[in-house]
Amino acid sequence: MLKTLCKKVLPGLAIAALSFSATAKETVFVGHLADYSGPTAFVGKYYADGIKDTLSWINLQGGINGTMIETETVDYAYKVPQAISNYKKWKSRKNMVAMQGWGTADTEALISFIVKDEIPVYSASYSGHLTDPQKKNPKTKKAAPYNFFYGASYSDTCRALVQWAKEDWQGKGETGKPGFVHIGDNHPYPNAPKAACAEYAEELGFDVKPPVVVSMKPGDFKAQCLSIKTTGAQYGYVANLGGSVVSLIKSCNTVGTDIQFMSNIWGGDMLTFKAAGEGIDNYVFPALTPFWNDDVENLKMVKDIAKAANRDESFQTHHYIRGVCSTLYMAEAMKWAEENGGITGANIKQGMYAKQDWIPEGLDGVCLPASWAADDHRGLNSVKIYQAKWNQGDIAVKQLSQVTLPRREDWLGY
């Protein structure tokens, strides 16, 4: 009896155990924190859709060299406790190798944990202080070696806009010092580029005016628009997003401010422009990808990703496309890791450094070429600058320029 048991059952069990461990090895877990219902959901849901669709699309294409990505999307509603507990759950129970995160709240709450656990986090929080992985700049409070993002930091984007403004000013044949003003709430996200950008504007010869505080919550901003008018600035950096920007544009239109608005990356998209309507007059905003209906061949892949997830194929915001880029950069680093010792967090981090000026396969013209280095996490130093204009019920968007910034030492992490 015992013999037959040994002969028949045990090998079976062994095979079952082996095959189980084999299948277990063929998936890796990637967590995804999204904001679908919280205060930043206005843009967060599009970015999150981009990530979610791309993760499932990667599996449809056969995964990372045959390794499937197991994933879970959690709406943490921009709440720190939920972000922490989900992170811990994924880390201890699912053996997470990388995470796609969202905003300042979750990214900064996890900043120490991910270093200890060696889990790279790709976020959409483009704060400059996440770009200094070795704390080279004395201004950096905390080194963030496992934080990555696809994009130019808020500070660099603002610097690029200021540089454009300088050229615009000279191009118009104006003389004298142009005025520059920061318009945004007194919160970490609008404040992130405030000092860095003002410094650079001064360097370029702008007359930097005292910042005007405008709430992140939509409201009647006529009083603030009057203050903007009183500053006499010709260029204003809009640091807020969503409904607040719409309110600002509408209020300032009523007041009649004669200022060139330049927004941050989250403050300019088709939904904002449509809501603001007639107020959109030469509104300048940055983008790090082309737009949905641009004539770019490789956008077809992005559209395929959306199609596979039953999304509306006629339009998605550029935040969606940025989500796709962020995920595919991670996927490519995972592929490198798979070929160089296995998909672990530390290897994925190395995979990010493997190439310079690189674009995920098949996305030429969609994502901009990016480089990460062990001592410099400024992925992009190039920003495309666009202009939107209201045109009888339609919004006309045209590219003004593409500004490439030097990778200055003193700008690292700042």
Partner: protein, 357 residues
């Protein structure tokens, strides 16, 4: 002070000492001690997920107890508790980074600093009460939040502040397993302190101020002082909770200590039971676990494949947010006296089982 009402017949106390016991019976005392000893072994069996939930309960629970001392015991109101919590977190990181004070000492010092700030913002309580006081403390919330964003020397402004992990005798306690013990120690220590405070002269004065301030004054209680003291103690607890939070995360960001957090603290003590030390803990556990439980329900429903894939996560997300609100409303309707009251009823039921009267 432990539940003066609802004492079953036959349970007589013949001395003040017996009346003031922390634990009603020795069985309860031994059960509590056994639970704490059992918790000491928790890091050996539980994974990081459960440990992090416990740590969350600990630092939020300490702050919630502070608010319960102010609202539940003294009858004041504060809408700025979240900001005091944040002040504690920044203060502890600041004391450690700027002056090199070791973290284990910086945490209580941050509590004292927060106490001072709390007393400053609580000083209107000397003159106003009710809704007016609520609005005055609301101002504290906004002023302190703005201070975090502006005071670069203190909070690092929009860059936030790094908070070193706790080091004791050369060991760095930066994992969930090791920080668990700090959280456990702080929780037990602060709750014992809170319970003891309520048995003291000051604690009785708080309750007197709440129940009838005129009578309290006639009995010789200095109303202004006790209202102010209550604000101070409440902020002290918030500061300790916040400091633990900061050193657990290793980084403090000016985002997150919003009005929503203050409201959440109020929700904790209302659900747990106003004027109950144990209730503050129960309410915190409830608020921390509710989204986690709903999360797993959502995952379960999505996992069955009954609903079309793709949109499930999004639609479930909204369902989850609404469910949190719904559960809280149902709770207030059916259990207005909080979890602490329900807990006493359950205890009473089992005490006399099966011959309940």
């Amino acid at each position: 002070m432990i539940s003066l009402s609802m004492r079953p017949c036959g349970d007589f106390r013949t001395s003040y000492k017996a009346d003031n016991q922390i634990f009603e019976t020795s069985t309860i005392r031994w059960l509590v001690v056994a639970t704490i000893i059992a918790l000491c072994f928790a890091p050996l069996v539980l994974d990081a997920y459960f440990l992090t939930l416990f740590i969350q309960v600990a630092y939020l629970g300490i702050a919630a107890l502070g608010l319960n001392i102010l609202v539940g015991f003294t009858g004041q109101i504060s809408l700025g508790h979240g900001a005091f919590f944040g002040f504690g977190a920044f203060a502890s990181a600041w004391l450690n980074n700027e002056f090199g004070i070791p973290v284990w000492l910086a945490i209580p010092l941050a509590g004292w600093l927060t106490m001072v700030v709390g007393m400053i913002f609580g000083s209107p309580a000397a003159r106003i009460k009710g809704l007016y006081l609520a609005i005055a403390t609301l101002a504290a919330q906004f002023i302190i939040e703005d201070f975090f964003a502006r005071a670069g020397w203190f909070s690092g402004g929009s860059y936030g502040a790094a908070a070193e992990p706790v080091s004791l005798f050369g060991y760095t306690l930066d994992s969930d397993q090791s920080f668990f013990y700090i959280a456990l120690f702080a929780l037990v220590f602060m709750y014992l302190w809170g319970t003891n405070l309520m048995r003291s002269r000051d604690g009785r004065a708080f309750v007197a101020v709440r129940d009838h301030y005129l009578s309290a004054e006639i009995m010789g209680i200095n109303l202004n002082w006790y209202r102010l003291l209550s604000f101070g103690i409440s902020s002290f607890f918030a500061g300790i909770g916040g400091a633990l939070y900061g050193h657990y995360l290793g980084y403090v960001s000016a985002e997150g200590f919003t009005l929503m957090m203050s409201i959440q603290f109020l929700a904790m003590i209302i659900i747990g039971g106003l004027g109950s030390v144990f209730g503050a803990l129960l309410g915190t556990i409830f608020i921390v676990l509710l989204p986690e439980v709903l999360e797993s329900v959502v995952a379960l429903i999505a996992g069955t494949g009954l609903l079309p894939a793709g949109s499930v996560a999004e639609s479930m997300a909204y369902f989850k947010e609404m469910a949190v609100g719904l559960v809280i409303i149902l709770f207030l309707v059916f259990e207005p006296q909080g979890l602490a009251h329900r807990w006493r009823q359950i205890k009473a039921y089992w005490k006399f089982y099966p011959f309940a009267y």
